[in-house]
């Protein structure tokens, strides 16, 4: 149960971080990629990435929360460290 909850929470954060990385203006500028077209909903993406924390805390899922607290930054780092060339074709 704890593992499933934590995995779902981490997946949500992964989606949020991936969107933020893909649309990050500074990353795209440094990599000389065309600017992201369309409205960048950074607040929404941050919300999606960080929402599992308070939800798990408020529902009393302490163990799942601490797993998420440790795992989310690791996932964020992995996403952030990806070279921009990985999505250059888009």
């Amino acid at each position: 149960m704890v593992e499933w909850l934590a995995s779902a929470a981490l997946l949500m954060s992964l989606v949020g971080f991936s969107y933020l990385k893909f649309t990050d203006p500074r990353t795209r500028r440094v990599a000389r990629l065309p600017a992201f077209t369309g409205s960048r909903r950074a607040g929404l993406a941050w919300g999606l990435a960080l929402l599992p924390g308070p939800v798990l805390l408020m529902t009393g899922q302490g163990a799942a929360f601490v797993i998420w607290l440790g795992g989310a930054p690791m996932l964020g780092w992995c996403i952030a460290a990806l070279p921009p060339v990985a999505y250059r074709s888009k």
Binding site: A6, W77, A81
Partner: protein
Amino acid sequence: MIRVSKSATGRLIDIHGWTAVLFGLALYVVVLTGALAVFSHEIGAWSVGGHGIDDALAGPLDHRLSELTREVPEKYHEELTVSQNAAGYLVAFFHTHEAQAGGGLPEDVGVRFVIDPANMQVVSREEGFADDLPDVSSSFLHDFLVDLHVRLYTPDPVGLYLTGLLGLILLVSAVSGFILHRHLIMDMFLSPRQKLRELRARDRHTLAGTWSLLFAVIVAFTGAFFSFATTLGLPVIAMTAFEGDQQKAIEVVIGVPEEEDPTPASFIGLEPVIRHVQTSEAAGSLPVFVLVEHMGRADARITTFHDPSDGALFTGSHVYSGVDGSYRGEKPALGKSPSLGSDLVSLMGVLHFGLFAGFMSKVIWLALGLATCYLTYSGLNLWCIRREKSTGWRLMSRLNDATAYGTAFALTVASAGFLLSYGRVPEKVVAWTLNGFVSGVIVSLVLALLLPSGWRTQQMFQRVLGLSLIALPVLRLAMSPGPFAVHGLDLTLLISGLLSLIAARRSGADRLRATERVIRQEVRHG
């Protein structure tokens, strides 16, 4: 973004950099061994080829323990601890508390039995002060790894002071790094730029620091707390609030012991208590550690200690009467009744050890530990790259490589020493393991001194580490009877070794491409 003046920034860079230069290498060793210690139990089981009995405390204990109780001097009946070590053996320690000949605080002294749970035969019997007893050979690899992390394998309290200090150093580095990095949010997703070596090194360090900042602060604070709590915190509390009486301070913090009643009374035994504590009425799980106080007296008490049960964060302990086995309820970590302080201390354990949710939390805590290692290594690497015109800093750079790869290599050689000795000369396990570690350190230092600084040193270390990691499961299979992939460790070692060799190959290829790029640029510019 935190705005600081130019002079303050300069001072912060000095603090951030020089703490890394002075303490970074030792910090790396403590953090790496801490990250690996998350799996110390699995490593211990792997080192002896695995063991089939994980629940020895649920087995028939009482008959053998009552025989051993009759054998040991009566003064040692004051306390008995029973647990299962990483190699699967039961360790029973009958003891009392006495000061050493030179004075000082009372210490545990008694008789320690190591028992094979398969047939309940005594494997070894040792008598003396707990700190002076020889190491248990079957779990030595586990104990060595933990000891290296907790006290850098130096005697107490010096080792605990050292690791506590390193925890505070990590805290200072994390906070100063946080203030120094002005564009924390803006650069959060910036991939390391590849063109310039210094820029790439800076981006890598910054990215690692940004994402592992929270864990670095948590692990630094909790680590320093655990190192200083008993060595410094308790004496200070005793001096300030209990007129120097440490025993009184301990009693108030842990809980004042019940009134003593030395009237002889028969002991209920551990089996009925362990059966009950596994029911939903009590802990609902098998204890990992059992403490018996005042065995054979009317005030006998049994306390069982448990890992967190499914979904819970905190470890638990449950108290029973040692005379009739009646359940007295759960005991908080501190004091006699639940309190915020007790919960906070328990939370520190949860956040530092990462053992609260089985395999998943262990994997994440291992990754977080390795991330902190990378943070330390990349920071010192960046500092040295910026000063690489100086011979001294080039040497520092090589020492950084030697520590980063060499510590892991030395641990593999220590493991090889354990594997080679455990099955054939178990009485020499300690010497072989320690000599293996020291040999690994010496080889690493020699390599660092002989090789030129830069990518060739890293490549050589990656090759050496990769080969040693691949050799370990082969050696383990040859020396111990367990099947392949005990706790998945054989496979993990093989994969890690291959990854290290691939990294060595790639770093060579990357360097070749970079050289070609420079040559092309030079040709273009005439």
